[in-house]
Amino acid sequence: MKFMIVGKANAETEAGVLPSQELVDNMHAYNESLAKAGVLLAAEGLYPSSQGAQIAYSGGKATVIDGPFAEAKELIAGFWLIQVKSREEAIEWALRLPVPPGHEGVGLDVWRVFDPSDVPDDSMPAEEREREEALRERLSVDQPDD
């Protein structure tokens, strides 16, 4: 299963303050350990919200709100996408993340990522399914390749 570890933003990340070299090195080592364990799918750091935008809806209308956004603690500063066996394993990896000293409050969220194979694909209309049946009659044309 896939999990996303989300690093929360704070006043410093929102101000675009670059992390210390030590933290950068630790983060690098951490990412390396995820990759070496074969669990890392993707990891990205995010720019401060001043570089982004929010889309708000009201009465069926969308409004674009330019960043920065007010509540730093509700924002995110980066994420890791990992593939592991259990929620506990995701949490264990999250616990190993290097956190700058003196950090207080929620620093990370761990989210389970939805997997398309969790639900069957029933989006196919009946007509298309018939076509699919007909195609299948060609029988296993590329089965060994699939």
Partner: protein, 416 residues
Amino acid sequence: MTASDTHRAIEAVWRIEAARLIAGLARMVRDVGLAEELAQDALVAALQQWPESGVPRNPGAWLMTVSKRRAIDLIRRNERLERNLVELGHRLEHEEELPEVDEIEDDLLRLVFTACHPALSMEARVALTLRVLGGLTTEEIARAFLVPESTVAQRIVRAKRTLADKQIPFEVPQGAELAGRLAAVLEVIYLVFNEGYSATAGDDWMRPALCEDALRLGRVLAGLMPKEPEVHGLVALMEIHASRSAARVGPSGEPVLLLDQNRARWDQLLIRRGLAALEHVEELGGARGPYALQAAIAACHARALNPEDTDWVRIAGLYEELAKLSRSPVVELNRAVALSMAYGPAVGLELLDQIMDEPSLKDYHLLPSVRGDFLYKLGRREEARAEFERAASMTRNARERALLEERAAACRGDTG
């Protein structure tokens, strides 16, 4: 944290630490079986102590310390290892500081090559690899391979005994031997992947989960051997195949063939990872290896937004190279299909007719079934009917037989 929470947390730690732990211990005691038992002992100790004391800050180091202490105790008591006792005991007692990263990686690599040693049967290699490198329990392996747990336990015990009896060194082979042994390692990982991939989703979640286990092992190996193109080739192949997991099973669990799959359900992240791994293979100059070629074929499909965009000319060319490497009639059959898609059924038929008498394809129903399809497309309905009927009599799958019989009947309808 409740006791069961702690148990699950310990399982998670085990999954992360087992391979490094066993690898480090195996180097010290020079016996994979003994190392695995020592690591298991430490796990039992953790299960006893952590629910009360809490999970330690550095669980990996805790497990290593406990295992080493057990090793020293055991060596003092064990006559079997008497000849090594002085040296070994001394080494263990003085190796208190944590090993360097490079050292751990060397140990892990040695563990990979030892667990996949040709002296072991294929089943034993698979079981031992999943156990010591994948951190799977005997029960999980048994469920994944649909065999009784006692069978898996026996395979592992026997494998460890074989390694000890034959005094198989805990090492990575060097020079010319490496290529052959690496092929054996890749074969084990790909076999695990296919075991999970050939099982359709649904009933047993353990089998699809094997694909993830194999991918993880492949990614670990790619990290350990970054310069070996075939390792990246295998990873690319597995990433791209895995990207189709959600699309290859229909609503009622029936398999959906590649060209019929809903491509919106392909996992684009895995495709990108696969394509990146393949690019890496090319940079390393290994694009002509068997796994790299298969990955390149899979990549052709992955790159096509619609089935009709598929680059069949390139696929046919890649199959031709693959056929030269493997001389497998099944590859030739696939090549014939690719040729027919690229240049029309007559070209495919020409190749197919060259392998019709291949003894290894004598009972392979896809051969007459594909030939029937080519003939049908060429308007040779009567010959096509005979081939479909032949294929129907050969397949053991009832659903497939029904389809083939329908096709045969359709040929008759067209002609009469």
